[in-house]
Symmetry: C2
Subunit: 295 residues, 2 copies
């Protein structure tokens, strides 16, 4: 039987090794490289790169071909966490059980480490050794990822998040903010894997639907964990959303309804890929894992 | 006779129109778009995009083919100014005669506007409509630009700049810092224009030497202006480097010697491209303009 835990562990190992190799390839280790490594190697779940690789596998491609793209996605995710944690944004002191970048280094280093990770991601996405010289599709996914991370995607999500502090959002506003802030990059991760993996248009489209559903499910689950989770396991404070007066799924529609929504989203995600063969098994189990995880 | 001023004006017009078109293409204008526009349209010299276009012309290509790349370079430059001006970095209140982004908006918006411009630059660099489907070279220059802007280039230059405040640098240390902070992206601008313009290897190499020389000359001239310039014309405070205890060419080797170095660099730059025909005339005049400008 397919074991999700060993699958996630083995993928994380491959991803971590690739990221470390890239950051160790400079001849000298500079303070900025230390700061980039500090946040990148802080023990993240590696959800985006794993989804990217699993999507390539689901359409029949070996996932090592997409490894650089997968790691670029993790760098973009990590940059966004570093900047979101800054004093002028969420002002968070702890992340993944460790002091945040601006606490461990200083604010200017944290800003520049984020900038550097974002830039390095696009450097990797332009490395032409990827995928049998399929330059056209590499440019295509680079654009998709830039859109998802940019001012119409993740950055707009963060703008909405900041401006909605202290306001009560409707469930639609909350959904839009979450889609932009988290869902768009998760969608781009799966989409990129499906395209570079050589999926048919139909497969790519089904995976995009799957991605939209689990992206939102992920955020609903995060909101639930923020109310219901164990701070020891999560490595950050629980209840911080309430303290900060942020609207969350539980605060807007209650905990039980939120759990029901997360369940329904996973059900729809699974339905979107029900014609895929057993190579999509990791994606199926990850969909469940996303709402059942404890951090 | 070739008139540099009309040339620069007409190029700035084309560049500004392209940038405005991109930023107005969203259906709704959001606060983040306003902040991006505010800094992008603050009346910069457009040196990097013009150099990129002039390099394409110097190797015989029409420069409109490189316009998107040129504008992407200006976005990267503008993002770096926004982040450099932040309170935790240079803490500057004025830029190009206007309040800096974090003063006019707020700090989180300024950070995110910078992030958004950097991301949009790579979105544009991945737009595959550029240059007759020359996907391979588009990926190549995207990587060159990411390297120049990244943790081994511009970002490392900013790290060195911050860490050297209050220290007296040697002329070599100063040169290295300036190359990373300013020269690398100027070099990448010219290099990109030469490659996408279809230059021969020999032409590309000559233009790279030209670029290295004027990149440094530009920074030496900036240091001189910071001592000798007119704050009304420059739109920012003069003497701020001294107030901040920053090493500059004038402070390390004196004003006269600095002017001599700038002259010598321009001479070497011109020598590097002396076999080019009159299509390189803009580059020749720009080299002189760089050290003779008053802002």
């Amino acid at each position: 039987m397919f074991d999700l835990n060993s699958y996630l562990l083995s993928k994380r190992k491959i991803i971590n090794e690739y990221i470390e190799r890239i950051l160790n390839s400079s001849s000298e280790s500079t303070p900025i490289v230390s700061a980039m490594k500090y946040s990148l190697m802080a023990g993240g779940k590696r959800l985006r790169p794993i989804l990217c690789m699993s999507a390539a596998e689901a359409v029949g491609e070996k996932s090592d071909i997409i490894l650089p793209v997968a790691c670029a996605l993790e760098m973009i995710h990590t940059y966004s966490l570093i900047h979101d944690d800054l004093p002028s944004m969420d002002n968070d002191n702890m992340r993944r059980g460790k002091p945040t970048s601006h606490i461990n280094f200083d604010e200017s280093t944290a800003i520049l480490a984020g900038d550097a990770l974002l830039t390095l991601a696009f450097k990797i996405l332009s490395s032409s050794e990827i995928k049998n010289n399929d330059y056209k599709n590499m440019l295509k996914i680079s654009g998709i990822i830039a859109d998802a991370a940019g001012y119409k995607g993740m950055i707009e999500g963060q703008m909405l998040d900041i401006s909605s502090e202290g306001k009560v959002l409707s469930i639609e506003e909350l959904g839009k903010m979450h889609y932009l802030k988290t869902g768009a990059l998760i969608e781009a991760s799966i989409y990129s894997g499906a395209i570079i993996g050589g999926g048919t248009n139909e497969q790519v489209e089904s995976l995009r639907i799957y991605a939209g559903k689990i992206g939102l499910a992920f955020q609903v689950a995060d909101d639930i964990l923020n109310v219901d989770g164990d701070p020891e396991v999560m490595g950050k404070a629980v209840g911080s959303d309430i303290n900060r007066n942020k609207s969350t799924y539980p605060s807007v529609i209650g905990l039980e309804k939120s759990k029901k929504i997360a369940e329904d989203l996973v059900y729809s995600a699974l339905k979107a890929i029900d014609t895929f063969d057993n190579k999509a098994e990791p994606l199926r189990l990850i969909a469940r894992y996303i709402i059942e995880r404890d951090k």
